[in-house]
Amino acid sequence: MTAPPSADAGLSPAELAAKYGLSVSGARPGLAEYVRQLWGRRHFILAFSQAKLTAQYSQAKLGQLWQVATPLLNAAVYFLIFGLILNAGRGMEKDIYIPFLVTGVFVFMFTQTSVMSGVRAISGNLGLVRALHFPRASLPISFALQQLQQLMFSMIVLFVIAAAFGSYPSLSWLLILPALALQFVFNVGLSLIMARLGSKTPDLAQLMPFVMRTWMYGSGVMFSIPIMLQDKPAWIADVLMYNPAAIYMDLIRFALIDGYGSEYLPSHVWLAGLLWAVLAGAAGFVYFWKAEERYGRG
């Protein structure tokens, strides 16, 4: 063993560390410091999300064209099954129902894919976590940001479909921006929670598709909740309509579709959207930060 220099002889490692101002390696920073570090990594978060988005289709012959083609095909499939075959509109006019359905699918998929990539954000990137220093929340946030960019391509498709069915661009379309902002904060919070759970139990990646599908069917993606549950007790419809996925879908439908007025929406819908975003965002962030120093083990 190396003998410490004479002045420091006899000091224990902890005393020696204190004397020269050394700190414990890999300790968790305070919450404010953590936010500051995360802000310092904003360029990395953005670059990583864009890189993932580009890498996704780089092997395909059509390349980045798939960014638009994938949501378009998705919309076509849902239209075929629910619009034509099952006629799930239940008396809703076709001009309203088709944009209603496609908006629901795209907006829900935004949350769904954010959650799914959140589950694997840490457990699927252990190599990165074990090699480099950065606030680990960068990963789930970056993945949620990737999904947001993906949604932008879907929005192009959505706008075309809405216009094709008689909902022309108007000032109310601007309401999409705050609605998406709220949903994004909600998604980030949720994927932070899932990232911590998934880092401990990777099995969640197998389980989550079923949970998400149940959530999708219960949120009125393909049908209007108040119309579908007309003859059931009112509280069931209320519970379903105030769930965050339904709230954000309805906000964007309301902004986008001409004939989809406030009669379809629950009361205080913006407040509900805001509360869900703040709740999920804050709780998710703190919950994720609490385990910051433990990510990357085994």
Binding site: M1, T2, A3, P4, P5, A7, D8, S12, P13, A14, L16, A17, Y20, G21, L22, S23, V24, S25, G26, A27, G40, R41, H43, F44, A47, F48, A51, K52, T54, A55, S58, Q59, N125, G127, L128, V129, R130, A131, L132, H133, F134, P202, E293, R294, G296, R297, G298
Partner: protein
């Protein structure tokens, strides 16, 4: 063990003659937990029975690997320390613990500033061009966009990727393994670090590139407080390090001047 060599180096680094510690490892133990490693059979029924048996005391589905067992040492500013040992002796694991990337089971690692591992590989994506990977890798290491812009040309020149044509604008998956390794090292070495740890980075690349990277490591060592180097090449350890830690089965077997430890190690491994 006395280490006159390191004393000479640190004496020049610290003007007042006192040696300033940069990394202190105090009885460090590291345990990996491996899911599904136990039980032997990988079938579904075996997994199920593992879960059912879990109630009795320690969970049996998880196997523990005790990778580092009670390592203590103090590294000082200006030192270049080599880590040697056979495969699986815990060298890389120890480096990760020093970097704060792996939590210790017992004991503590104290460091001056943020030690960084010279390993940017994980952040790079084969589907992206070399150009975008330089930027992504730099950001992942915590460099700012301006810093990367400033050093971009240096990184590309150092890697030598463009010596045989405009390869930097091609996806990285199209590179040969040597070219990929060179670009990775070039990106990783572009940043200055307080405490720098290099894990087997010199094994790749042709002779010309190896000389260039050893040169760069000596530069980094001048700028950095302390350099750790893991390598199986005794020559590159001899060329760059003045102190060597020898790990075997997770325990620190020897700690001293390069020549002394390498001689013992070569005797033991029969080289």
């Amino acid at each position: 063990m006395a280490d006159q060599t390191t004393d000479d180096v640190t004496a020049t680094a610290a003007a007042d003659g006192a040696r300033i510690p940069t990394v202190i490892a105090d009885d460090v133990h590291i345990v990996y937990r491996v899911n599904g490693g136990g039980g032997g059979k990988g079938s579904a029924t075996a997994a199920l029975s593992r879960i059912l048996r879990r109630e009795k005391g320690e969970s049996r589905g998880v196997r523990k690997v005790h990778a580092v067992r009670g390592v203590s040492f103090t590294a000082y500013r200006g030192e270049a320390i080599g880590l040697i040992g056979t495969n699986g002796s815990g060298k890389s694991t120890l480096l990760r613990a020093i970097a704060g990337l792996l939590p210790t089971e017992k004991g503590k690692v104290y460091t001056d500033g943020q030690p960084s591992l010279l390993g940017v590989n994980a952040a790079l994506m084969g589907d992206l061009t070399g150009e975008r990977n330089v930027i992504l890798g730099g950001l992942a290491m915590g460099m700012s966009r301006e810093e990367i812009r400033e050093r971009y040309q240096d990184i590309v020149d150092f890697s030598g990727i463009n010596e045989k044509g405009d390869f930097i604008t091609l996806p990285m998956r199209t590179y040969s393994s040597g070219m990929g390794a060179r670009l990775r090292f070039a990106i990783a070495a572009a940043k200055n670090h307080d405490v720098l740890m290099i894990d087997e980075a010199l094994a790749t690349g042709d002779r010309k590139f190896q000389i260039r990277s050893e040169q760069r490591i000596r530069e980094l060592r001048k700028e950095a407080g302390t350099v750790f180097l893991v390598s199986h090449s005794n020559k590159s350890i001899r060329d760059t390090c003045d102190r060597v830690l020898w790990l075997e089965k997770g325990e620190l077997l020897m700690d001293g001047p390069t020549d002394e430890v390498l001689r013992a190690y070569e005797k033991e491994t029969g080289r």
